[in-house]
């Protein structure tokens, strides 16, 4: 991790998730083997903070780029960092097929339920009734469909080895999140196959509440719909 100021808003979860990944990488002592794929979204310039090789990818194509890098360089540790728009909307085909091929990559999926970079529009993971700039009356199930539970969808695929949902809304949950990220990287290091961690993360700016309220919202609201815990393990 580079010692620089980050561009993220106050109370945003991205900086925490960045740090957890870097700590895990250092604990495995694999910084010189890691190749990360940065998404399109708020974390697009993650390479300004990470101190290892990084590629950009077009919006949602992140798992396709990671697939090829890992196939060409199987001895490197390849992970994607994706938001809910990137992974669960525009890149749905890519994530399902990378998972189904059992690619030996690790996916860190940051779910904050909104499109942050473009100004807080509805994401596929936005909860029913949640107000966003494109759902001013709240997400309507009739008009907008249901929030997507990606981990539960991927769990049925035989190529998928490890899936866990975590959160970074408290110190205790952040500790658990780090353990899950570590387990996911270990899955890849031991050549076991596809691993993914979904991180419930705060976006106070586009939730329109304070950072403290945002953390409470995950605990009292978001995590009831997206239950924290292991979804699939080997």
């Amino acid at each position: 991790m580079r010692d620089v100021d980050m561009h993220y808003c106050g109370g945003c979860g991205h900086s925490i998730v960045h740090r957890l990944i870097c700590e895990v990488i250092d604990e495995f002592n694999i910084r010189e083997r890691v190749i990360g794929i940065a998404p399109v979204g708020c974390a697009v310039i993650a390479y300004d903070y990470w101190d290892f090789d990084v590629s950009e990818a077009a919006h949602g194509r992140t798992p396709a780029v990671a697939t090829a890098i890992k196939r060409v360089r199987p001895d490197n540790i390849v992970f994607t960092y994706q938001g809910d728009g990137d992974l669960a909307a525009i890149g749905t085909a890519e994530i399902i097929h990378a998972a189904n091929r059992g690619e030996n990559i690790t996916v860190i999926f940051v779910n904050n339920g909104v499109y942050g970079m473009t100004g807080g529009q509805m994401a596929p993971t936005t909860l029913a009734g949640q107000k966003t700039s494109t759902t001013p009356g709240g997400r309507s199930l009739r008009n907008d469909g249901y929030p997507l539970k990606i981990l539960e969808m991927l769990a049925v695929l035989p190529g998928v080895r490890y899936l866990e949902r975590v959160s970074v809304h408290s110190a205790q949950e952040t500790f658990r999140a780090k353990r899950a990220i570590s387990k996911a990287f270990r899955t890849q290091i031991e050549n076991k196959g596809f691993s993914m961690v979904e991180v419930l993360s705060m976006c106070p700016t586009y939730w329109g509440i304070s950072p403290v309220q945002a953390a409470e919202r995950i605990k009292n609201d978001v995590s009831l719909f997206y239950p924290i815990g292991v979804v699939k393990a080997y």
Binding site: W50, D51, V54, A64, H97
Partner: protein, 350 residues
């Protein structure tokens, strides 16, 4: 040792890539290039390369992005509707300056069109295709042998300039069976060092593969550098052939499979005492504007023939710049211009 093999253009194209040291292929089935993806699947397993049948054209081109970023020689192929889907990825590849080869065995459009040969993707190929100010080197072979040779060359050009190279064929070229001579000793790929590639940052600073430049004037600087590179390519990599150009009064301009018919038409015209010649662009970008401009002048007439409603003809007119009359003959939507049709047009111009 030299071997002469009967094969279709799609297979020759795949073999050219293998000879060039291509180790990664990702593609998605579409007619009329299915022999190419099947041949790649077979050849990659023989050479211990990587073959992935992708879930979509989008995934295929982005897999090529990843493989190229990791430093491997990589290729994808498709036909017109599929190449439209790849345009997003090609723009990113051009922006990130990654070397790779893309093949388009053109079929009729717009939309799903049909599966007959066509040259109606000229604009898409040479004028950009995707978003942004970028250029792709476009090579237009006219036989199975040339599909092999120019695909081989494409990989060296891609690495040399860190730029995508497009092989622009058509369904006719891809499907046609022709003898191809392969002398393995004469195909020696020029492999370059890739210090920018993502390999893990052992013993060096981290590498970043990017097309995103947010800082003030950062993108303008990046684009200026790209334009300088395109200027170098224009000066060094323009390719064209000419036949009987010197004394010609009627100059045909055609590329790819159509150029072969056009050459035959000029020979027929010569037999009838009409001084006809041919300019055949091999690189469509960079376009051989100078050769065309030098040939233009008083007493010369141009006839551009395409399997389109008239796309390359615009570049010919720009090069001719009013110095000569420029006529056009095109068949499109599955029609193929015949020697007789070209001959009739030549006679009408005399």
């Amino acid at each position: 040792m030299s071997r002469k093999i009967l094969m279709c253009g799609n297979e020759a194209c795949a073999d050219g890539a293998i000879l060039a040291g291509c180790k990664f292929y990702a593609g998605y089935p579409i007619t009329p290039q299915n022999e190419l993806i099947a041949h790649m699947a077979k050849r990659m397993s023989e050479i211990n390369g990587i073959f992935i049948q992708a879930e979509s054209e989008l995934a295929a081109i982005n897999m090529v992005f990843g493989a190229a970023a990791a430093g491997e020689r990589a290729m994808t192929s498709s036909s017109s509707p599929g190449v439209s889907l790849k345009q997003e990825g090609i723009s990113y590849i051009a922006g990130a300056e990654l070397p790779c080869v893309i093949v388009n065995m053109q079929r009729g459009g717009p939309g799903l069109g049909n599966i007959a040969p066509s040259q109606s993707d000229y604009f898409q190929s040479v004028k950009g295709g995707g978003h942004g100010d970028y250029k792709v080197i476009v090579l237009a072979p006219s036989s199975a042998q040339e599909l092999l040779d120019y695909t081989f060359l494409a990989f060296d050009l891609a690495d040399k300039y860190r730029n995508p190279v497009l092989i622009l064929g058509d369904g006719l070229l891809g499907q046609m069976m022709e003898p191809v001579t392969i002398n393995k000793e004469s195909y020696k790929p020029h492999m370059t060092e890739k210090p920018w590639a993502l390999t893990g940052c052992k013993g060096r600073k981290p590498n970043i593969v990017r097309s995103f430049f947010l800082g003030e004037s950062a993108l303008e600087e990046h684009n200026k550098r790209l334009q300088e590179k395109y200027k170098t390519i224009k000066n060094s990599e323009t390719r064209a052939q000419d036949f009987n150009l010197k004394d010609s009064e009627i100059i045909l301009v055609a590329y790819g499979s159509v150029a072969r018919t056009a050459k035959a038409a000029t020979e027929q015209a010569r037999a009838k005492g009409i001084k006809a010649g041919l300019i055949r662009p091999i690189s469509l970008w960079p376009f051989p504007s100078k050769m065309i401009s030098d040939a233009a002048g008083r007493g010369k007439k141009f006839l551009v023939v395409e399997m389109s409603s008239g796309q390359m003809v615009e570049d010919v007119m720009l090069a001719v710049n009013g110095k000569s009359e420029v006529d056009f003959y095109g068949r499109y939507g599955g029609g193929i211009p015949t020697e007789e049709e070209m001959m009739a047009r030549i006679e009408a111009l005399v």
